[in-house]
Symmetry: C2
Subunit: 420 residues, 2 copies
């Protein structure tokens, strides 16, 4: 073993052990103390703006030297407004109900045993994420509010910013009398260390990757720690034959163009063959600068439509690009979506309640819309007040993850000496 390997193993081992010890403490702390800690971090960020911006500048310079794209540099960039937004989000979080300790069910058995299922923290949460440094603060705050310890592993491109932010968080926790070891940053951003982190079952209760489809796939393929998959959204808007023209066009254009780079943006438009306004819809998308691909029917119905290949139907463009397919029924739309979709957000536009209901029952996805844009799949839009990401898996949490997604349960049983 080289010295470097020893150091890597030590960092994970030492920080893992500290996080686990801290989790045992923070899991039992009252909501008031957790809120004090969040307020202290908020204030700490505002007090340390110059130091944070200095560190961020080092990342930006390294990023420019390494030839990062303008959009990646923008994701990496912090400024006064973005730090203020992080500080504000921490204060907002103090207003949310604490799920820990909530009694979900209480019942009694004929033998007199009294049972109650209560929400408890998960323990130690691992978050693996890319560029955006605000995830460092958001994820740590959500974990702290729910009584968890957190191990953060950001990307090497944000290492200076992340280190500065975690320093502020830990100092603020310490000054609020809160165990600062509840937040740990893995400073070694090598792949080898990430691979070891994926298999730290003895420390981590869950791993949550946030970032590209590739990052998420790497975690799923290699982790032994349970993973919550977030992310990929090949979302569809299906326009049924009875869809109101103006509503169908408005929802399609919004879902596609409002923010094309996000997971709840529409990537495909399916149109019933009897809906008469396909040409106008495609023109409206093109007017907004959208490159439109289409199946043979769509190509015939409108101008300037590129021929879609079979590959297009599974693609997440994440850009001003869409593929349009003409279908003969709601059933065909459902089976196309279930074959090519990523189980994220799907919408039907229709004036028919039976068709809407058929679609909402038949489509297998976290969120299924009737007459609304897929863009609402979001913790804030759902009214959760906070969000850790959008789960595209079926176990534990599905869809936008609010605070309860960061908890587990425990059943407490009280008896008077009962034996089985």
């Amino acid at each position: 073993m080289t010295n470097l390997q020893t150091t890597q193993a030590d960092e994970l081992k030492i920080k893992g052990k500290k996080a686990k010890e801290a989790a045992a403490v923070v899991g039992g702390l009252p909501t008031s103390l957790k809120n004090e800690a969040l307020k202290a971090i908020s204030q700490g960020l505002l007090n340390q703006v110059p130091a944070i911006l200095d560190a961020n500048r080092a990342d930006l310079e390294a990023g420019r030297a390494a030839g990062l794209s303008a959009s990646l540099l923008d994701r990496l960039m912090l400024d006064d407004a973005r730090i203020q937004a992080m500080a504000d989000a921490l204060i907002d979080l103090t207003d949310l109900a604490d799920p820990v300790g909530q009694v979900l069910e209480e019942w009694e058995r004929p033998n007199g045993l009294k049972l109650s299922t209560v929400r408890v923290p998960l323990g130690v949460v691992g978050i693996i994420y890319e560029a955006r440094p605000n995830v460092t603060v958001d994820a740590a705050a959500l974990c702290l509010k729910t009584g968890n310890a957190v191990i953060l592993r950001g990307s090497s491109s944000a290492i200076h910013s992340n280190t500065a932010l975690v320093n502020v968080i830990r100092e603020s926790l310490g000054s609020a009398g809160f165990p600062e070891d509840a937040v740990q940053l893995i400073e070694d951003t090598s792949r080898e260390t990430a691979a070891r982190l994926f298999r730290m079952d003895d420390v981590l209760d869950v791993l949550i990757p946030r970032g590209s489809a590739k990052l998420i796939r790497t975690v799923v393929d290699n982790a032994t720690v349970p993973v919550i998959e977030t992310g990929a959204g090949n979302c569809h808007v299906y326009i049924d034959e009875s869809a109101e023209k103006e509503m169908a066009i408005r929802i399609s254009v919004n879902a596609k163009t409002q923010r094309p780079s996000v997971c709840n943006a529409a990537e495909k438009i399916l149109i019933h063959q009897n809906w008469p306004y396909t040409a106008e819809l495609i023109a409206a998308l093109q007017w907004e600068g959208v490159v439109v691909h289409g199946d043979d029917n769509a190509v015939k119905l409108a101008d300037g439509v590129l021929v879609a290949t079979d590959q297009d139907w599974g693609l997440e463009y994440l850009d001003l690009e869409v593929a349009v397919k003409v279908v003969s029924s709601t059933e065909e739309a459902i089976s196309h979506i279930n074959a090519y979709g990523t189980r994220h957000s799907e919408a039907i536009v229709t004036a028919s309640i039976p068709e809407a209901s058929k679609f909402q029952l038949g489509v297998d996805a976290a969120a299924v819309y009737h007459n609304a844009s897929t863009r609402f799949t979001d913790g804030f839009e759902f009214g959760f007040g906070a969000e850790l990401g959008i789960s595209t898996q079926k176990l534990h949490a599905r869809g936008p993850m609010g605070l309860p997604a960061l908890t587990s349960v425990k059943t407490l049983i009280s008896g008077t000496g009962q034996c089985k």
Copy 2:
């Protein structure tokens, strides 16, 4: 690729595809039809007793020839009574509420969007299990009741029994007008095929291993499909200084001896140093034939106690064997349990409500008991009416898994044209 490999790949691919197609159908079937299917299987089993027993005899003969232990042969063995028990369990299952379609939450947003979160089936459930052929019927029935398709992979030692049982299940489903492809048995029991099954993300929504700690570890280490861990139980009974003598002895003896081979049996007894009856407790265990290991204090306090090594504290004996440790406080008991336990079932015996409460909050386990035996951690004892196993993980389901553990959720959103 050899022919054998081609065949293996084909079996998984073909049965996986059929299961997925069947899942899309059974997910939408009404409770009444699912119950009819369960009744048909129950009747089918009773009609086919001779064929099932013939197949089971072939497994038993092969098992004897391969030198399987008496206890493994007993687990493998079917007789009239065991088949009747399976048939009865199917009828019991028809009485349970169907969780699918249950509305968990309904709310409205200020923009007029109406949201509702409803329970939906998981989709295709994979079950990997060892010897007991009754798991074939139990697991298939629980999956069918919850609208899931199931892919069963039993052990080679039970292949004749499992094949006969699945034939009966599929014929009965067909005769009840239910898609028989909802139940698939992987007949190739090679490790290579199991390894491929672990990574069939495109088909399986979850994998549930049921069996030895080794089997579960193999699945967790190799699966990319989300796993629900079941099983291992290094359970503790902690006797606090105020514990009533008779109750403490009764609970300890019951938890250890009533059925030592199961996961909710006690493996360790922790005793407060001021509790005066340690010698009597150890004598009572020894009287029941239990081999007692102990730390230095326990060895001093009673006769015939073997010296426990550090390894003992992490062991699941699954036999008439226990280790006893003297501790100085409830806090020490909690930290010992959190260090060595498997987060399954833990008990405190005490007359003190504050100590009980401290223990129930501080111990990290699926079920934490006050003045009752750990043996109650069981779906039937909890009143769930059915059980698919006991989850020892924190995500999705924790503790005994009833029917809701086999479901996910979906959020339906209805609007009037809202865009974000």
